[in-house]
């Protein structure tokens, strides 16, 4: 079943659908309100209508997200949720609500931009309650215990995702890169129980030994893009063994957060426990150390940073992360994508040249 058909089926089951822009948001809260989030990262559309609203120097994620909205591709969505991620997405959110004539409820969520300790947790908790209040206005209040149940589903999904990542890092997953990311990225729209089931099934089916000859690499950046890039990597004999993609590995809590009595607090703590991210002002040192840890645990032979053109949060960090990794003896390649429909030949050539230096 395709994404749109799946979302329509969710609605037929009585759930609402929220279109959610990147990157970090409390999915558990939406589930608790009976809302299925469908994330808008990289719809395969050329920005035509969007170009009348956005300058050409705005990144492909913002351009394509707006194109999807303007072309009617988000018709199944009842609500639009814009987490605060960067300047461009911030302005897109207010453009859609204030200038675009959008009739649906547009909601916002602000993950604190620095680790201000208890103040950040308290502010996150206040926002979670506010967001819940807004959702209540639209879909009604949560049932008793719904948040706790959703938190449990969230834990299960995280656990299933962690296991899949662990299997891959430990060389116990035979799946290719394209298949792996298709499974992981399906969670961008699957209801959590379906996501857990799908991840478990995939892990069970794919558990096995990968090819010895494949070159193990860690990827960082925004997304596995262009769309066919992972297939190309399969063809080149590259095995992605870990990732720090904003849309994938950087949204998996890598450690266990102890349960607490206050679900709002636990939810806030879970969000603050996500891996260090440039969009939340994480230091370059913390990000470099996180990537180094991924390299160590997966025994990768190098790192590829795959940035999206015009993505400021990533592009500011990249040169310093590269320097830090090289100082630690880790070979690094930086690639930049404009989210083209097919991987440009030049990008593949650079990838091949990098692989040659590793051999």
């Amino acid at each position: 079943m395709g994404r749109t058909e799946y979302l329509i089926a969710q609605k037929e089951m009585g759930r609402k659908v929220a279109a959610v822009w990147p990157a970090r948001y409390p999915a558990e809260l939406l589930w608790a309100h009976g809302i299925c989030p469908a994330e808008v990262w990289d719809p395969p559309l050329e920005p035509e209508r969007a170009s009348g609203h956005l300058q050409p120097y705005v990144c492909g994620i913002v351009q394509r997200g707006l194109e999807l909205l303007l072309s009617g591709g988000l018709r199944p969505a009842d609500i639009l949720l814009f987490p605060h991620t960067c300047d461009s997405l911030q302005n897109l959110a207010t453009m859609v609500r204030d200038l675009g004539g959008e009739a649906r409820r547009c909601l916002f969520f602000y993950p604190p931009k620095r680790d201000a300790g208890e103040r950040a947790i308290a502010y996150l908790m206040a926002q979670l309650r506010d967001l819940s209040g807004e959702l209540t206005l639209h879909v009604g209040p949560m049932n008793a215990g719904a948040l706790e149940d959703a938190m449990e589903l969230g834990s299960q999904r995280t656990e299933a995702m962690r296991r899949l990542y662990d299997l891959r890092a430990e060389g116990r997953l035979s799946a290719g890169n394209a298949a792996f990311y298709a499974a992981v990225r399906a969670c961008e729209f699957l209801w959590p129980e379906d996501a857990v089931h799908s991840l478990h099934t995939f892990a069970k089916e794919q558990e096995g030994t990968p090819s010895d000859e494949a070159v193990p690499l860690v990827f960082s950046g925004v997304l596995p893009q262009p769309a066919d890039f992972m297939e190309k990597l399969d063809g080149l004999g590259v095995r992605v063994v870990e990732d720090d993609f904003l849309g994938c590995g950087r949204r998996i809590v890598r450690r266990t957060i102890p349960a607490g009595e206050d679900p709002w607090r636990v939810l806030a703590e879970r969000m603050q426990a996500l891996p260090p991210c440039c969009t939340q002002g994480a230091s370059v040192g913390d990000r470099t150390n996180f990537i180094l840890e991924l390299v160590r645990r997966s025994r990768a032979r190098g790192v590829v940073i795959l940035d999206v053109k015009f993505c400021e949060p990533e592009l500011f960090d990249a040169p310093l992360i590269v320097a830090g990794l090289r100082e630690s003896g880790v070979p690094v390649l930086i690639l930049e994508t404009e989210m083209e429909p097919r991987t440009p030949a030049g990008m593949l050539t650079r990838m091949e040249a990098f692989l040659e230096t590793l051999s």
């Binding site: 609203h53 120097y57 103040r119 502010y123 969009t279 002002g281 949060p313 500011f316």
Partner: protein, 453 residues
């Protein structure tokens, strides 16, 4: 801090710099510049401004080691740093200076050679390029002991300053001011004011000095007065004919950005205001024969101030208002000695760049009405996303709401590699022509994205 550096700083402040600047003044006084017939008499305060900023950058060279030095963003609550005796340097102002002196691409190239993308904010590339190479047209910037940033103007500032923190190996204090969609929630303002209170402890630790509440009160009062004076300076442009132009305002903005909270800032604007009020009384026009009054949106195109200003004047157009220049007068009234933490949270958390586009649209409509603007020039600054993303829709909406003509020009604030003068002039020329036709057809002029005047 060393005694030798402190003595050297004092000597330069009291003797060396005044002497050097006096000699420079004498040298320049001999040069007689012919008056440009397109403009009214030049502002006499410009000389004082030049001296003030020369002194600021001149003293900065000797601040290192004599007192703690902080690099600060333009929208940060600098009052706290002043209360702790920091010498403050504003990389954004330095970026503007580099832009105006047309050295930005050369300094940006240093950052680009180190892997920083040419698509990043050019102010940031200048600053990083300077950090890597020491290149600057102001002689030397002091190495910072502390970085202090607030993301109320953009998120870019946060990415940029954490890079500097990494490169210099020094602490970074961040004031996180959540972007406001609609009216601010109490929890948001509590979060901001709480962080400002927390900064006191951090600054006490970094400087080893105890917090002086009375000193903060003095600085806050000075900051409020300086910003209010700046607001009055801008308001003189409501007069027809305008006594100065928006291009003058861009230049005279420097003290309220860089010296806010210091008595020199207040004194400077008192002088400028007196001069402008005198011009208003005598109907002295910045552009004789003023026909059209325009509003400017976004940061100045620093490298093109003069040619742009001339081109406006040649067509009888005067820039009389701007969203950018207004930002430093917009929220200072919130500063309140009785509630320093909450009032700083409001003064810095509520600025227009930290608010939704509906708020911006209303603000622009109000400014256009107050200054009787009959046209709007939107500078789409390639490397400034928060200011530029949404401009195409703002343009359409304002045109519909006010019936005024609008034009978008694509450029950058400092990096002239991203600018085509011919293209900008062609668009402006068509726009100026359309102004001659009056307000009819403004809606048609607003049609389409960035194209068509």
């Amino acid at each position: 801090m060393s005694l030798r550096d402190k003595v050297r700083y004092r000597m330069m402040k009291d003797v060396g710099l005044p002497a050097a600047m006096g000699i420079d003044r004498l040298r320049k006084a001999r040069r007689v510049r012919p008056r440009d017939p397109l403009f009214g008499p030049p502002l006499e305060s410009s000389g004082a401004l030049k001296n003030l900023m020369m002194r600021h950058y001149g003293l900065a060279r000797y601040a290192e080691g004599a007192m703690p030095v902080a690099w600060v963003t333009s929208g940060a609550p600098v009052e706290l740093l002043r209360a702790f005796g920091f010498y403050t340097v504003y990389p954004e102002n330095h970026g503007a200076v580099c832009g105006a002196r047309r050295v930005a691409p050369d300094i940006c190239a240093e950052a680009e050679a180190a892997g920083f993308s040419q698509d990043l904010c050019s102010y940031a590339r200048i600053d990083i390029g300077h950090a890597l190479s020491g290149k600057t047209p102001v002689g030397k910037l002091p190495r910072p002991d502390l970085l202090f940033c607030t993301n109320n103007i953009c998120q870019t500032i946060l990415y940029w300053f954490k890079d500097l923190s990494h490169m210099y190996g020094i602490p970074l204090i961040v004031l996180d001011t959540p972007f406001l969609y609609g009216e601010p929630a109490a929890a948001t303002m509590d979060y901001v004011s709480g962080q400002i209170r927390d900064m006191v402890t951090a600054l006490e630790r970094i400087t080893g000095k105890p917090f002086d509440e009375a000193r903060l009160a003095e600085v806050l009062e000075s900051s409020r007065r300086g910003s209010e004076l700046w607001g009055k300076v801008l308001a003189t442009m409501r007069h027809r004919p305008a006594p100065m132009t928006i291009f003058d305002a861009f230049v005279h903005l420097a003290p309220v950005v860089s010296l806010r909270g210091l008595p020199v800032c207040e004194r400077y604007y008192e002088g400028l205001l007196a001069e402008l009020e005198d011009r208003v009384e005598r109907n002295v026009a910045a552009v004789p024969g003023e026909r059209h009054r325009l509003m400017w949106d976004n940061i100045a195109i620093w490298f093109a101030l003069k040619p742009m200003s001339r081109f406006f004047a040649e067509n009888g157009c005067v820039g009389v208002a701007g969203t950018y220049t207004n930002a430093w007068a917009e929220t200072a009234h919130h500063l309140d000695l009785k509630d320093p933490w909450g009032s700083m949270a409001r003064a810095y958390g509520l600025i227009f760049l930290n608010r939704d586009l509906e708020y911006r649209l209303d603000l622009m409509a109000r400014i256009a009405a107050e200054y009787a603007a009959d046209g709007l020039v939107l500078h789409s600054a390639r490397s400034c996303k928060p200011y530029s993303v949404g401009q195409y829709d703002i343009r359409r909406k304002l045109s519909e709401r006010l019936g005024i003509r609008t034009v978008v020009i694509e450029a950058d604030m400092t990096d002239f590699r991203a600018y085509s003068e011919e293209q900008a002039k062609t668009r402006l020329a068509a726009f100026f022509e359309s102004l001659e036709g009056g307000r009819d057809g403004a809606a048609a002029a607003a049609g389409g994205g960035g194209s068509g005047a």
